[in-house]
Amino acid sequence: MASVSLRGIRKRFHDNVVIKDIDLEIEDGEFVVFVGPSGCGKSTLLRIIAGLEDVSEGTLEIGGVVSNEIEPARRGIAMVFQSYALYPHMSVFENMGFALKLAKVPKAEIRARVERAAGILQIGHLLERKPKALSGGQRQRVAIGRAIVRKPEVFLFDEPLSNLDAALRGQTRVELARLHRELGSTMIYVTHDQVEAMTLGQKIVVLNGGRIEQVGSPFELYERPANRFVAGFLGSPRMNFFEATLVSAQARSATVELAHGVRVQVAADAARARPGDKVVLGVRPEHLQIVHTGEGGGIGASVALVEYLGDVTLVYAHADGGGDMVALKCDADTAPPAPGSRVTLAFPATRAFLFDAGDRAFTPGWADSAAAQGLREPMT
């Protein structure tokens, strides 16, 4: 059993509360990603699980055993460090076998395990080299191999891809997913990169300021963000937000008024709010469309910048109501508007989100209609 359970975890650095009451259950064999901006506590949480940091309050259970006081080496975990932390004076073989040597595992078995791990990671030909003779990608594999060799119940990864260049990163992501399928172990992965989170995670934990913002599958987090933070964190370019006032709320939709009196409809259940309340409208760049003026209520904007990316074109515009620049993701085949030109923007009501004054999301009303439209959660 390689489940991990965090209950009421709280961590203080002197007077600073860095982790504030975290409750989290991780199932055996899951690939969980901790993601969030710098300073949100994701690395600290990982290190707490690893035993490199003490817990100020709360209970940590690994494999059903309360592990707060257990030494790191005896928790049944292995960690891959961001900097790899390969011992510079030892060969790759010695690096990978170090933990086993300390545990007094017989030499023959050490060799067997190291060679098997090296085989999985295709570094068998590097076993005699020293870390400084390896490339970044090779070093990273050795770091992973060092973890595999220990046959841990839980793998911990601390931003393992951040020191690799972009091409290598994509490649390694795929390999990590393959590794998880092959080994079937529980994996906890920390990153600040939401692309890594979305592609690797079966379960994503979004952290902010030491608290969990939302836990769920990539689909859930992307399509049903619980609050404005999660909505704005996942997706690139970021979701567009508009300040608005609630006009009226019906069963499955609400009407809100934006700047310049523009009124739009959103498929959300805003029953718990009152007309006149301040709300925030959120629309993802890929759902904003440029329409011909006059086709009903739309948001006026003037185009500031157009970026051609090959597969899509990004259009940045200043909306009439002020606020941050609005981003649109357009099909690269259609001609984009010229910078400086005026456009009208619109979006389907079922693809918009509404957040209250406390940044909590109003339940999207599209859930049923999405199913009706044949949209389903992707298989993972």
């Binding site: 035993g51 005896r74 510079p88 004076h89 170090f98 933990a99 060092r146």
Partner: protein, 277 residues
């Protein structure tokens, strides 16, 4: 295109460099020249820069008579022991101060660093009495022991250990290593260079130490080179060729160490100075 003033500076600089360098190597060269001539020539009425007859006589006599070989042996033994013991003690202490947590750590470190303020010279009398009580007067142990207390070396090592990325320690932790094992398997192998630098500096310092051997040694046989060389005044009277030969032989080991390990020596001495600044 060099301006006139730049050219002027160039000349001044080059001239100064030459003059100063010449001045600085002159004494040793002159000592060599003296040592390579027959004894009578050194006090002859006419002065000669170079020997008129070249001979290794002085060196032979110095090595034969007197106790120079014995002093060389003593110096080597003492310097070696001091270096080894100081390195061992200091590495262990520095590691404990740097990486282990225990009550009173900062207080203890502060007290150890206090030794910077107190000059060794002021402790001569009580040290002598302690050695006397321990029966270590005129012994190798007596020579070596007070010299192994080196807060400077501990401080340098601690700074170094502090700068090692925490990742290595944590990785070793996760691999199941205890604190002693981490020191042995991770920190020591990484610190090769700095240990070398400190070892050489300590060796040179121990070799050149005059004051303490002067106090603790009472017989000619136990003298170290710096001490022994001063005895040559009486032993050889006014035999300057032999005196110079003795001086050069006494200087040879450390000079060689410097020439061979120039970079490490300077690195080591610099490390000990930087902390005071």
């Amino acid at each position: 295109m060099k301006h006139r003033s730049q050219l002027g500076w160039s000349i001044v600089a080059t001239a100064s460099a030459c003059v100063l360098a010449a001045l600085w190597v002159f004494p040793l060269l002159w000592a060599l020249s003296t040592a390579l001539r027959p004894e009578l020539e050194t006090v002859s009425a006419t002065f000669h820069w170079l020997p008129r007859s070249w001979t290794l006589d002085a060196f032979a006599k110095t090595l034969g008579a007197g106790n120079l070989p014995r002093w060389l042996f003593n110096s080597a033994l003492v310097a070696l022991l001091v270096t080894l013991v100081t390195m061992a003690i200091s590495l262990m202490a520095a590691y404990a101060f740097s990486q282990l947590r225990f009550r009173g750590r900062s207080a203890l470190f502060g007290i150890a660093m206090l030794a910077f303020l107190l000059p060794f010279e002021a402790l001569l009398v009580p040290l002598f009495r302690t050695m006397n009580a321990l029966g270590l007067i005129n012994s190798y142990a007596g020579l070596v022991l007070p010299q192994v207390v080196s807060p400077v070396v501990i401080y340098v090592f601690k700074q170094f250990f502090d700068a090692v990325p925490a990742d290595f320690r944590e990785a070793a932790l996760m691999d199941g290593a205890g604190p002693l094992r981490v020191l042995w398997s991770v920190y020591l192998p990484i610190s090769g260079n700095i240990v070398w630098a400190m070892a050489i500096v300590t060796f040179i310092g121990a070799w050149n130490n005059f004051l303490w051997p002067f106090i603790i040694v009472t017989s000619n046989d136990m003298m170290t080179i710096p001490l022994g060389l001063t005895q040559t005044y009486d032993a050889f009277g006014v035999r300057y060729a032999q005196l110079m030969a003795a001086a050069l032989l006494g200087a040879l080991p450390v000079a060689l160490a410097y020439v061979v390990f120039q970079r490490r020596v300077t690195q080591g001495f610099l490390a000990t100075s930087g902390l005071k600044g």
